[in-house]
Point group: C2
Chain length 453, copies 2
């Protein structure tokens, strides 16, 4: 049995490790155009921030670890073409440029995603970075430690995490977001709160501009040194990071006749099978079922990638496992602020045809007399007709993340809000107020949905 895996960050590495455990005698080869495998890309901002000095802490398993288990890792080897009819793959060695063919019985595609490069004049200047791979992180940190000002283009998850990292490294930072709201996965009212809270703690350390399209970079052979925007703003900078989102690496799959889904990522079933026999896909290159609404979403996250890689491997090895989908749960931190969500926003629910109603509360995350008490703002959304909870968003200096995680099992169970508000959360003064903000919001929301007969 020959198992070939393309890509080796989270899903690919997990699929390789799990395949070995499932089939001790299979021939397993993993090809990646990357110089590293099995690493925590999500940890790169924390490396840049200086939480730890050795980037090797980001590596989960080394190629040697895999080799010990007789799993062959081929770094700097790009998969160029898949020929499903003959079950062959054309691979190119990026050092020698030489191409060769390999055969597979089962193929697992885990090609991941790559940063979107926005259309900006001189975007290819030195010291204009994206953050995706280990090398990116090393290069950005090296440059940041010698810099005074950094520009971040795009205020999504990675933009926010880099803002924290650069501020902690004592750089002055300018963030430019082209849309009217930062963190635009959130509803507009919640994004506004994030923006206001960030601005209130800026203390001159960073500027945050929305509706601000960066149009031009300028510089010399030493690299970028200035930024121009559509609104006429001009400022000097030492480095730029493009955080304008990511897109799935699907070209090789598409070229082989593998179907993409509505989101543009690869369409797979619960067994992580593509439309072509014996070809599986997992990780950031595939779309998922959003359990709440039973619709397709693309949520490129390491936690999902790990689970999908496991499922793909089990099935490729002859077992039977199902990945039932995602809830869209996510969290990030920017300085003292936690931003977390799960399920559908109100805006997204509307586009899917729900009649969403929401309750928003701003409350202490602990009892008010505790010394480290902080606020959180929590927005809980349900469908008016059925009362089903659709999602929640929570932001604040307080423990917003706990409240989102306290909800996810209810989303999994498609629980109505007038059942959920009876939930019994833990209580003690250092951990929550007597009535938790989440239950508070649920109680209010239960009175807003259609009454049960």
């Amino acid at each position: 049995m020959k198992i070939v895996i393309i890509g080796g960050v989270a899903a690919g590495a997990k699929a390789a490790a799990k395949s070995r455990r499932e089939l001790p005698d299979a021939e397993i080869n993993l090809y990646t155009d990357d110089t590293h495998i099995s690493y925590s890309a999500c940890g790169l901002p924390y490396y840049i921030e200086g939480n730890f000095e050795d980037y090797k802490l980001l590596l989960v398993r080394s190629p040697e670890d895999f080799e010990e288990k007789n799993v062959h890792i081929h770094l700097k080897h790009r998969a160029v073409k898949i020929i499903p009819e003959s079950k062959q793959i054309l691979i190119q060695n990026l050092d020698t440029q030489k191409a060769f063919l390999v055969e597979y019985d089962k193929l697992i595609i885990a090609t991941g995603a790559r940063p979107v490069i926005p259309e900006i004049k001189n975007v290819n200047l030195p010291n204009v970075f994206t953050l995706r791979k280990i090398e990116d992180g090393i290069a950005i940190k090296e440059k940041a430690l010698k810099s005074k000002h950094a520009t971040i283009i795009g205020a999504g998850y990675i933009g926010m995490e880099l803002l924290e990292a650069f501020v902690r490294q004592n750089l002055h930072v300018t963030v430019c977001e082209y849309s009217p709201q930062i963190m635009n996965f959130f509803d507009e009212d919640m994004s506004k709160i994030i923006e206001e809270q960030l601005k209130s703690i800026s203390n001159g350390r960073f500027d945050l501009y929305t509706s601000e399209l960066v149009t031009e970079l300028s510089g010399d052979t030493n690299g970028v040194n200035a930024v121009k925007t559509g609104s006429g703003r001009e400022f000097s900078t030492d480095l730029v990071v493009l955080c304008a989102g990511v897109k799935p690496n699907v070209e090789i799959a598409q070229d082989a006749g593998i179907e993409l889904g509505i989101t543009g990522a690869i369409n797979v079933n619960g067994r992580m099978e593509t439309n072509i026999k014996d070809i599986y896909a997992c990780g950031d290159c595939v779309e998922s079922n959003l359990i709440v609404s039973n619709t397709k979403v693309w949520v490129p996250l390491g936690s999902n990638a790990n689970k999908q890689g496991r499922t793909a491997a089990i099935n490729a090895c002859g077992g039977d496992d199902k990945f039932c989908g995602v809830l869209g749960s996510a969290v990030t931190r920017c300085l003292n602020l936690t931003m977390s969500m799960t399920g559908l926003t109100e805006r997204k629910a509307l586009t899917l045809g729900y009649n969403p109603v929401s309750a928003t509360v701003t409350k202490n995350d602990k009892v008010g007399y505790m010394p480290d008490v902080n606020n959180i703002t929590l927005k809980l959304t349900a469908d008016y007709e059925s009362g089903q909870i659709l999602g929640a968003q929570a932001v604040g200096a307080g423990d917003a993340d706990k409240r989102i995680n306290s909800l996810t099992a209810a989303l999994l169970a498609k629980m109505p809000v007038n059942e959920f508000y009876k939930n019994d959360l833990t209580y003690a003064p250092p951990y929550s107020p007597t009535i938790d903000p989440l239950l508070n919001a649920a109680q209010i929301l239960a009175s807003k949905v259609k009454p049960k007969d």
Copy 2:
């Protein structure tokens, strides 16, 4: 409409406030033998610890706040006898000792609980305290600030919280627990971990003895000054706090013919009605339905008391509300250690006739390279036959509380573990590892329950 409420800490105060909102014209009187109402008793250890100086921060609403809403609060007035036939209550003014009769249309009993006084020689010496009321907290703090050594008898929730408080006030502390395990609401294996972790951080600041029965206190007119135990241990001390548990104040109810339940607390239905018409009960004096197993439990906690007080008031005022029960969720902190649980322990599940299986994991609470990463040990228990999750216990310096709260909605939904492990929890390096310890335990446990056909 005359509404009378007996007791005014959490449930009673909540019932009074909610009754006023439900019936703006009702005559509402609240009688309590206490000198304060509507206070956070759970906050007393944090007051003693010195987190804040003014005990008034523990007061949620003052008698004046109530009086403004035309709710009459009678402090230091003890309810002596209920005469259901004539809907009268005999009340004694504790200042004048004079008794008088009041009439009610609806009576809400919220008499709470009181500390168990263990049989110890000279237990009535000065500076031997229990911790339940505001005055207790004030007296203990006053004495602690002048003391060098404190003795805590009983290592349950309050004992652990006082251990933290005294250590932070730089007292040397000796804790004596008569049973073989501290925190004996937990399974023995989890208690052992708590004990080991506490001992490992003691650093000479406290001693923790199990199977250690305190038999005798000695002292003089200045108060207690020494402790003797059954094992022959003798030591000097400046103050003693009895933390040997609490029992419900049910005598007045029982005397009036109100039925108690199997736990010894008052038996009420979901509407918080006792067996006697127009008499409701709520808070620490009643037992509750444990949703997981549909059995009766007594869980005296402020969070439940609040919800029950609300339900009792709605129904007493002619509305219709139901308190569906508790999950037994609880959390406490002792120094750097969080201890949290929900649902049934394995031991308790066994006594209820389940066939419990458990998975225990010890994992990082965040990604390992984050600077503030800590361990948690999590034990997840399910019923072998049905796969239903029965409960979880989590302890450690890491964020154990979040994992317990991530489970409670699944208990509410009576979710089997092989559905729960598909849960999508938030992930980012400062908040959790790629695979959350809870999902890790669930994945292991799913393979231990009876396979589904």
